[in-house]
Symmetry: none
DNA sequence: GTGGTCTAGACCACT
DNA sequence: GTGGTCTAGACCACA
């Protein structure tokens, strides 16, 4: 559990958890079959509410990234490298669609966006 | 008032208003000195509460994009083209900072981001 | 009529008029017996509403600084220099009472206030 | 919650709240990390609307004096003593700028202002 | 006519 | 339980 939670962020905590764990799975940091810590323990470690952890785990399950076996724990699902890459790009593109429509609304061209991107990446 | 409100969006209405009008001002669609419609009328047109409109207008004022004269109306502030460009990039960069940290958390390199960006822009 | 009106100020225009003319009278810039311009003309010159000018003139009359003679005009009242000084200090102290209570609420000592005052006066 | 609201004051209630709490924070009466009462409770205690309290809290957040965690409450932000002093002087100077321009318009010199100030402070 | 303030009360998201 | 958003509607100050 290498998670950084910001309570000042405008993003809800459960979503921060979801995004970070998703990223770690799709980057390969958390391997297929890896068993996530039990909800209670994770809540203790991260100093957040059990409900919050549960919500994040549920979203992970709904996205097909983990698989819960009642009484045993939550396990990272099995993917091939190609699937991982595909899922990663899928999540990124979904996010990027919203981002770009924002940039476009300000009249930015693709080149302008890339230029700004290079500055801060 | 060329505004599109999405009630399904997760963004609050007042923020959608703020973003769209900001964009129109900084793109030059709404010129300096232009008088925005009175909040009551805007509320009627957009079919939202007066207070929701007011909240958006307040944020525009706080950002220095409009200035309000009680009893007269709300007017687009005066800026030079350079200021507009600077403000636009400032707003975009602020947004982009969050976007890129998301991409980074998935391990994307700058080149990968640009490649995906080119696909969907 | 040497008046500067700021429409961006948070102070209402009629009060800006009232304060500036009061100050000019009590400083001696507008002498006793001087006839203020008629309301309509002042409104034209200052590019504000007649109602706004009227409101300011009424406040001046209420404060005893001018005297209206129907059909003739508004005249600066007669004061001795001592009266002027007394009235000036009265108005200043009234304002200052509010100002200082604000400073005090932040825990500033008299010395701290004087120090800051010297910086910006 | 040691707040005094004056309904006769020309200042809006939310601003009175904002100023008094700002002062208490910057004076050190409310310490960093302190949890403000929930807006509903504060509204009850102060006998004003929830919205009025919220407006004041929002302005405190915008000024960086508190930070809000949805679902948990509003907490006094963390600053060093130097930051507190700097913020205090910043707020005071902003106010003082308006005050002094008023004094100046009546032709008062710095020495005269200080003299009057000593009398009533 | 304009915006500024305040009210009461509902519903939702997050913890 | 917390704050966040939105609603409808009243009253006042200003121009």
């Amino acid at each position: 559990m290498n998670i950084a939670i910001s309570s000042t962020s405008e993003k809800p905590i459960y979503q921060q958890l979801f995004e970070q764990i998703s990223a770690q799975i799709l980057k390969g940091e958390l391997e297929s079959g890896y068993c996530l810590p039990p909800i209670r323990q994770a809540a203790l470690e991260l100093r957040v509410s059990i409900i919050t952890v549960k919500k994040a785990w549920e979203e992970l399950e709904r996205s097909g990234l983990i698989h819960t076996i009642t009484g045993k724990g939550c396990f990272v699902a099995e993917f091939s490298s190609e699937e991982k890459l595909r899922l990663r790009n899928e999540m990124i593109l979904k996010q990027m669609a919203g981002d770009t429509s924002y940039y476009k609304s300000f009249g930015l061209t693709l080149d302008e966006v890339i230029e700004l991107l290079k500055k801060i990446y």
